[in-house]
Structure formats: structure tokens, C-alpha cells
């Protein structure tokens, strides 16, 4: 594969496009579009933006991802968590009372910056940065964010108005306003929820029993959001619910495609949005790559994580230039796209075309769409993201992973979404360092007269009082050099007969500069106390590195032994040169 087709994957799959793939790509494109049109409007509302911004974000970005992305089935567009993060970022960066126009302009800037951050990371091949996010932290973050998102929609469902605020404020605000509930809006929203849940569950089973074609089943069960939008709008229009019953509606959505325009430049705004753009980029990239990988594996395909940064980066730059807001590859729509048979990114491009047609011709139909229906769509979409069960799972497996997850959830709920993810990342790192900073070490002895050496605490083994055999079960690096030093010194202080120490490195995959220097210092200090340090079973790459420095001269008279057994054989000859060996 040439460098060019690697950078622009469409040149690769486009040239070899199989006509057989066209029907499934068309089908997948259609079904995804049916989900995407109502969802993108709902998510835009969640981001604090007018519904058309969601639609605008569902055209150019999909085409650009189709050109530059490497996943065959990823469905790019507005997603729940990125929308919430957008709302938070815009709320923090813009002054209170900023106009709707300013919000929309800032959203486009945020998308552009997000795209530039992703491109920069791609150019630096720094996709590994998302590895800062451990699964438990990400899972806790997703659950808590989904909860916050759901909560933010409850007011629309009840048709009451509650100002944006902390989790507790929102809950008390809603409870306080319950008496003001708009029963018509609530009935519409609740009906929509029940209908969508029924279509995703029971309906699917009914249709399967009737042995309908899989395509028709897909089409019918995934069209829940569109169906509720249709019935909700028809009911509201025909019964005049917005006038007589005061049901909040979407109102004017501009007809026609968005203009292509450069996001406006304002240094202060760009600087204040940049950190959020970076965080949104990383979180969005993480979500997207996880889905893309899972889907690729099921068909023995592969994706290129660094090229994905390019694909998503271009998609977001596209959003920025066409009046959109940040997008990424979403979980649920990608699963649907995949299940509906998307064979190539052409499916994505078809979806974008269908969304474009809706924007060009259908938006006036959405005038009477009740906001409670959009809230219902979001609630159903995020309900499946809440997974507090996994806390138990993480906790059971590892207390430190479990506590990082719980801390992330608490900070998201109590402080906010950005603080939560940062707290989770920091805590993951600290706990990881803590874990590797106290490596498992075992004093080992010889099993009978074999060449096997095992932990003295767990096995019946033979030891020599002058020779200490210490196995370290961890890489030696800055986070554990201090512990290593302390432990080795303690052991030597507690065993005054010891004159030879052998550090067994069979489980050590690397030794960094800090650890090497610590070893040098241990060697020097022990030397003054009459103790010689040796190494055994050092892996090839580590030996290569050590021999590039003067470490081995430092070690002298200590040596590097091929095996523990070899070390014991040769050291016994030295320490028992008088012929008396207490062990043999």
C-alpha cells in the first residue's frame, strides 16, 4: 500500500469497489440515516444548540470520514457525550447572556479546534495518548455522563424549565417544578419512550417470528426515533397542542444546506476553547476507536489507529467549516450500520446524502416537533450507556481499578464532566504507579538438588546464609527504584551473614535510567559494607542497553550470570573457598 493510499484510504477501497457491495451499503446508509436525522437534532439540543446544527454535523463530516477513515462500518456524527461536553465547554467559554448566534459560531470553532488537535496528534502519531484513559475510568465516566445527560432531559419531558446547574440543583429544581408539569408534553414524551422501547425489544421478536427479511426487520425496529418524531409532530400539529396546551416545539429550522464558511477567529475565544477541544477530541477518539476496533475484529479487518486520528480530524474540520459542532464515531449507530451490512465507507456517504436531502427539503415538517419527543429520544439512547454494574465487576477484579471508577463517577456527578474525566485519569496513573511502585519480590532457594529455585515462603527449599537470591517480579523504573532500594537494604540489614546478593531479573522487561543509577548506588554502598551485588537471567535487550554504559564496570566484582543456578554454583565456590559449605 502506497503512502498516498494510506493517507487517503478511499483511493484503496474505492478503486477495488465491488458492485456486489452496493445493495448492502445502500441499505445500511438508509437505515443509519433514519436513525441519524432525529438523533442529530436531539443531540444538538443537548449541546445547547438549535436542531439544524445537528443535521449540519451529519453531512460533510460523514463524507470526509468516508474519504480519510479506515473503519468500514463506523457511523460518524453527533453523539451524546460529546454533545454534553460541547454544552459544558461553550457554557464556560462564552459570557452569560451570549446570543444564539455566538453559541453557534463558537460551536463551529470548537469543532475546528477539535479537528486540528486530532490532526496534530495524528501527525505526531500520538494516538497512544488515549491510553491514559483506563477502561474502568472510561466506563465510570460514560455511566455518570449518561446519567447527567438523562437528567438534563427530564425537564423537557415534564415540560418545566429548570436552569442548568449541578446534579443536586437540577434534581431539586425538577422536584420543585413538578406541580408545573405540562401533562400533554409529558404524555407525548412518555408515549414516545414506551413506543421506542417496544420497537427495540418486543417488536423485533414478533417480526422475527413472522420470518420477515432481515433488512425489513432492521428497518422497522431501528426507525423508532423517526416514528415518534412523525407521530409526535402529526399529533401536535393536528391537535394544535403547542397553542392550546403550551407544548414546547422546535419551531423554525432553516431550509437548505449550510453555507461553507471559515469559523471566525478570535484569539481569546480560541485559547479558552482549546483545552476543552483537546479533551473532547481524546474522549471522542477513544469512543470511536473502541467501536471501530470491535467491528473490524468481527470481520478480520483492521483499522489504523493513527489514520483514525486523521479521519476524525478531517470530519471535525468539515463540521467546523459547515456550521456544525464536534462529532465522532458513535457506538449505537455504528452497531446498526454494521448490522445493516455496511461493507465500505460508501454507506456513510449515502447516509450523508440522505441527511442532505432532508435538510434541503424536509425541515419545515419539523416545525411542530415537540421538544419532549427529542428528550425522549435522548433518554432512550443514553439509558443503555448507564452501567453501574461494572463497578462491582472492576472492584471484584481489582480494588484500585474499582476505586478509580467510583471516584470518576463521584466527581462527574458532584463537580462536572471535564473534572470527572481528569480526576479519573490522574487517579488511574497514581494507582498504577502505586501498584508498580511496590513490586512483588521473593527470596528464593533451591528446590532439592534441581536447577529450580522457588520462593522460600511457599516452598521447602535450601538456602545459603551468605548468598541471598532475590527475584523481582516487575520492570525496574523510576516509580519503584526507591522501594527496591529500601527493601534490598532492609533484607541485607536483617541478614547480617549475607555477603553476596543475586538479583534475579527473569520477570524484568526493562530497567530505566533511574533504576540503573539506583543499582549503581546500591552496588557502591554495599561495597562499603562488604556485600557484592550480582545479576542473573538478564534479558537480551536490557543487557544491550547496560553494555552501552559503564554499568558493568560498576558492577565488578559483581557479575551477570546466565541463570540462577549458575550464580549459586559459582558463588558457593567463592564464599566457601575454605571447603566448608553449610548447605551441601
Amino acid at each position: 500500500m502506497s503512502r498516498l493510499t494510506q493517507l487517503i484510504p478511499i483511493l484503496d477501497w474505492g478503486k477495488g469497489y465491488q458492485r456486489d457491495d452496493l445493495p448492502s451499503d445502500l441499505m445500511a446508509g438508509l437505515i443509519t440515516a433514519i436513525m441519524l436525522v432525529p438523533q442529530s437534532m436531539a443531540y444538538a439540543m443537548l449541546a445547547g444548540l438549535p436542531p439544524q446544527i445537528g443535521l449540519y454535523s451529519s453531512m460533510a463530516p460523514l463524507v470526509l470520514y468516508g474519504i480519510f477513515g479506515t473503519s468500514r462500518a463506523l457511523a460518524v456524527g453527533p453523539v451524546a457525550i460529546v454533545s454534553l461536553m460541547t454544552a459544558t465547554a461553550l457554557g464556560a467559554a462564552l459570557p452569560e447572556g451570549a446570543s444564539s448566534g455566538e453559541y453557534i459560531a463558537a460551536a463551529a470553532v470548537l469543532a475546528l479546534l477539535n479537528g486540528l488537535v486530532l490532526l496534530a496528534l495524528g501527525a505526531m502519531r500520538a494516538g497512544f495518548l488515549v491510553n491514559f484513559l483506563s477502561h474502568p475510568v472510561l466506563s465510570g465516566f460514560t455511566s455518570a455522563a449518561a446519567f447527567v445527560i438523562g437528567l438534563s432531559q427530564v425537564k423537557h419531558l415534564f415540560g418545566v424549565s429548570v436552569p442548568r446547574g449541578s446534579t443536586v440543583d437540577t434534581v431539586t429544581g425538577i422536584v420543585g417544578e413538578l406541580s408545573e408539569t405540562n401533562l400533554t408534553a409529558f404524555a407525548l414524551g412518555l408515549g414516545a419512550i414506551l413506543l421506542m422501547v417496544w420497537m427495540r425489544g418486543p417488536l423485533q421478536k414478533i417480526l422475527e417470528k413472522r420470518s420477515l427479511s432481515p433488512f425489513l426487520i432492521q428497518l422497522l425496529t431501528k426507525s423508532g426515533p423517526l416514528v415518534v418524531v412523525f407521530f409526535g409532530t402529526v399529533l401536535t400539529t393536528s391537535l394544535g397542542l403547542s397553542e392550546t396546551n403550551n407544548v414546547a416545539i422546535v419551531k423554525d429550522i432553516p431550509l437548505g444546506l449550510p453555507d461553507v464558511s471559515t469559523p471566525f477567529f478570535d484569539q481569546a475565544l480560541w485559547l479558552s476553547l482549546l483545552p476543552s477541544a483537546a479533551l473532547i477530541g481524546l474522549v471522542g477518539y477513544m469512543e470511536s476507536v473502541s467501536v471501530a476496533k470491535a467491528l473490524a475484529a468481527r470481520r478480520r479487518q483492521k483499522i489504523d489507529p493513527n489514520q483514525e486520528l486523521m479521519g476524525l480530524g478531517m470530519a471535525n474540520i468539515g463540521a467546523g467549516f459547515t456550521g456544525g459542532y464536534p462529532v465522532t464515531g458513535g457506538f449505537s449507530r455504528s452497531m446498526v450500520n454494521f448490522a445493516a451490512g455496511a461493507a465500505t465507507p460508501l454507506a456513510s456517504i449515502i447516509t450523508a446524502t440522505l441527511v442532505g436531502l432532508s435538510v434541503a427539503f424536509l425541515t419545515p415538517l419539523f416545525y411542530f416537533l415537540p421538544r419532549a419527543i427529542l428528550a425522549a429520544i435522548i433518554l432512550v439512547a443514553v439509558a443503555s450507556l448507564i452501567d453501574f454494574k461494572s463497578i462491582k465487576h472492576s472492584w471484584q477484579y481489582s480494588k484500585s481499578d474499582g476505586s478509580a471508577q467510583v471516584a470518576t463517577i463521584i466527581v462527574v456527578l458532584a463537580v462536572g464532566i471535564e473534572a470527572g474525566i481528569l480526576a479519573g485519569v490522574v487517579l488511574s496513573l497514581v494507582l498504577f504507579l502505586w501498584r508498580t511502585s511496590r513490586p512483588h519480590m521473593a527470596i528464593v532457594g533451591q528446590v532439592g538438588y534441581t536447577e529450580h529455585y522457588r520462593n522460600v515462603l511457599r516452598h521447602e527449599v535450601r538456602t545459603d546464609p551468605e548468598i541471598l537470591l532475590l527475584r523481582v517480579d516487575e520492570n525496574l523504573y523510576f516509580a519503584n527504584t526507591a522501594y527496591l532500594e529500601t527493601r534490598v537494604q532492609e533484607i541485607v540489614a536483617d541478614n547480617p551473614e549475607v555477603s553476596q546478593i543475586v538479583l534475579i531479573c527473569s520477570a524484568v522487561n526493562f530497567i530505566d535510567t533511574s533504576a540503573m543509577e539506583t543499582l549503581e548506588q546500591l552496588i557502591d554502598n554495599f561495597h562499603q559494607a562488604g556485600v557484592t551485588l550480582h545479576l542473573a537471567e538478564v534479558k537480551g535487550p536490557i543487557m544491550d542497553r547496560l553494555s552501552r554504559t559503564d554499568f558493568l564496570e560498576h558492577l565488578t566484582p559483581g557479575r551477570v550470570f546466565i541463570s540462577t543456578h549458575e550464580a549459586v554454583k559459582q558463588l558457593r565456590e567463592i564464599v566457601h573457598a575454605d571447603g566448608f559449605d553449610p548447605v551441601i
Copy 2:
């Protein structure tokens, strides 16, 4: 050892105090005091504080460390880097034009907060936090900080006045003022430097040849600072240099011991000093513990890193209540204390008593002490800390460690001392994650008909096209799960015949929740693609953890094999059930 003697080590060594130790403790206490009196005044000046604050910081803290600390020879008191960090912290927290009294009060608050942070870390047994600082970063930081410190003294040496500023501003400021040099001050300072260098080097050799007693040699060679203070003051007083030649002098130092008083409470000031206090605490603790460990190892003693947090914490709280500023265990004075024979912390208490006597009776003698002499003392002390050679050393051993070191130096010089250490820490972590995020993996094959399996790229081995044997040489955790997943998928996509994968875990010391979940997902996804994943050579502790979850059910029909050879034997029977084996 009871819990109480563990918390208050003096109860332990005090009870068993050997009278034989008294002469060496007295000697060490005297020699350290002779160094400490002039050094502490000089370091206080470096911290932007009057000289007596250095002396005040050299009494109560030493006694408290003697009671609560675990090192036998650590010499606590003002040190260069902590003094510079104090100057930075106070400069940032106090408004421009703050009075000298406000500076002094804030310095005491900083010491108190520093002490409280250390105590809190001790109570949480969080000494491992200093492990965030890798050796190369710390070494780069120390060198660059020593350079900044030295530079800050050059103006005193030339007797010119240059405002505090960036490295470049300071250099250009000094060059611009060179024509204003006070030649008398310069001659005094230069003479002092030459005298101290001579006493530390050539004099020692001369005295050794005369076979003087080691004690006398120690006393004479280490008294350089005191000697230059004496001659500098006598010359300035007798020749009236401060009046006739305008040599800057120390002037009034209050006579008498400091009052014990509670540092004043001002919420805004405390909050703004807290981050610096924490950073000073960690850096100081790191310096102190490194020295304490090195000294303990030489006599087969041990120190308790968590109790050291208590000892240094109490020392700083003592400084806060007696008008001092942050202290820690310093490198050079501790070495001298150790070499002079300090056997117990009583040496420290003796030093404190001698400093107390000086403060009570001798301070008027320092009135005419020239500032150029104090600058000379600091310059000689920090010169030995500058070690840019170690960059080459780190770089040679590991590019990533070397670049973290260089980055730390650049940021310290270009931005500042606190930004530098933070940049170094962040970079160490990122580079560490980057390194472990791309673990070495080897596809292995059978060496002849033995039970040994080696890398196919390096050895002539036999492989089975349907069975992939993959050895991962790293712990599996959140930072490398993504890479693991990508690589395994790529390998499977590139080898369409593979139906069985064996992940060999002989070098894996732990698998965290993220990695376990990634493996589960890989298993599920591969299952759909007709590939079964197995594990081999999983260590005991990891198996214990995995069996606490439903991982092993997830793995089915995949299995966990005792050894690679066992895996190959059994899997061959499965995949070649028809009797045809392409390998055998």
C-alpha cells in the same frame, strides 16, 4: 519495636545510647555547626530573607528531626534548592512591594504548610508519591536550579544591582551593569571562592601528608565558609570598606533566640502558598530521603521512608513556629556529618545547640559581613550540583530518559523552577506510558523438537500455520491494551489460516481490568471470526485474580495451558484431527 518507638525513634536509640558514641556525635555536631552557621545565613539571603531567618531555621527543626527522624546522620536545615523555591513561592504569592515583615511571616507559613503536607503524606503512607520524580528529571532539575541559583548570586559578587527576572534578563542585566562592578566587593568574593576551593582540595592533601588526626583534617577543611566569613568581616571592619568602598554588608542581625509564635492565618495567603508548599515538600523529601538512604546503606542501617515524612514534617512545623523557613536534609552537610562520625541524631541536636549559642551571643559580630562573601559561599556550594555530564549518560542509556532531562533543564531555565519540575514529571510519565504502551511482542516457534520456543525472526524454528504463538513481554494494563488489541488483530488479519492463538504470558506480572476486558472483547470478536484465543504460562497471582471473575468462562472454548509446549501439543491434536499435520 512498639508502635510508639516507631513513631518517636528517639525513644529507641535514646534508651540504648552508648557512651562510646558521645565523642563522635560531639565532633560531628561541631563540624556541621561550623558549616551551617554561614551557610544558613547565605541560603536565607538566597530565599530573599534576612540572614537570621536561616539561623532560626537551624535550631528547632534539627531538634525535632532528631526526635522524629529515622536517619542517623542526616543534617537538616536550609538547603540551596528549597531556598530558591521559597523565593519563587513568596515572590508569586505576595504583592509587589510587600514589606520585609510580610515576607518573613509568609516564609513561616510556607514552612508550616510544607510540614503539614509532609505529615499528611506520612499519615497516608504516601511516600511513594516522590516516585513521580525520575532520576534524570531530578538530576536535570538540580543542575538547572543550581545554575539559576549561581546566576542569582553573581550580582552580589560583582556588587551590582539587577532586578529578579528570567535567566536571560539576569544575564543581560549583569552584563549591562559590569562597568558598575564594585571591585572591592568582587575581590573579597573572588578571594573567598579561591580560599574555599583551596581548603576543600589542596589543603586536604597537604594535611593528609602531615598525617594529622582525621578529626583535625575534617575540622580544618570543612571550616572554609567560617574562615571566609571571619576574614571577610575582619577586613571590611578594619578597613572600613563598607563606608569608603561601598561594599554591601549584612548589617543588623537581631541578637537572641527567636520567639515561639503561631504563624499568622490568612486564608487567601495559605491557599496561594499551598501548591508551592506541596512541591517544596516533595522535592525536599526526595533530596533528603536519597541522602538518608545512601548513608544508611553504607553502615547496613535502614531508614523508614514513611517515618521520614513525619521527621521532616515535624522539622518544618518547628521552623514555622520559630520564625524559620522551609528546611530539609541537605546533601553536602549530611555527607560531612556522616564523615565526621555522627553515630546518632544526637549530633543534630548538638549542632542545633551550637547554632543557638551563636544566635544568642555572636550575631553582632556579623554586622560588617559583606554580602559578596555570602554569595561566594553559595556559589561554591552549588557549583558541585551542576552536572550536565549526566545528560550524556542518560541519553546514551535511554533516549526517552535523556529527553525528559533536557526538557526539564530547558523549562527551568526558560520558564522557571516550579514549571520545570512539573514539566519533567509529566514528561517522565508520558514517556513511560509511551514505552509500556508499545510492548515488545514476538511470534515464537518450536526450536527443533525441543520444548523451547523462540522468536521466529531471530531463530530457525518450526511453526504451524493454524496455530499462532504470541509472547507478550510486558504487563498488560490500560496504557497498552489498545496496542495489544491492534497488533493481535493485524497479525490475525495478515495470517488468514490461523484458527488458534496462544498468548504466552511468561513475562506478564499483572493484567489490570482494562486489559482483562480487552482480552474478553478480543475473545468475543475472534469467536465470531472463527478464531479461538488461549493463554499459556499465566503466573499464579494473575490466575487467582482472573478466577475471581467470569473471565475463564468467557475464554471457553479457549483454555489456559501450563506451558507453551503443552498448548502446542494439545492444539495440534485439535486442528489436525484429520491426522494430517503439516509440521510434524
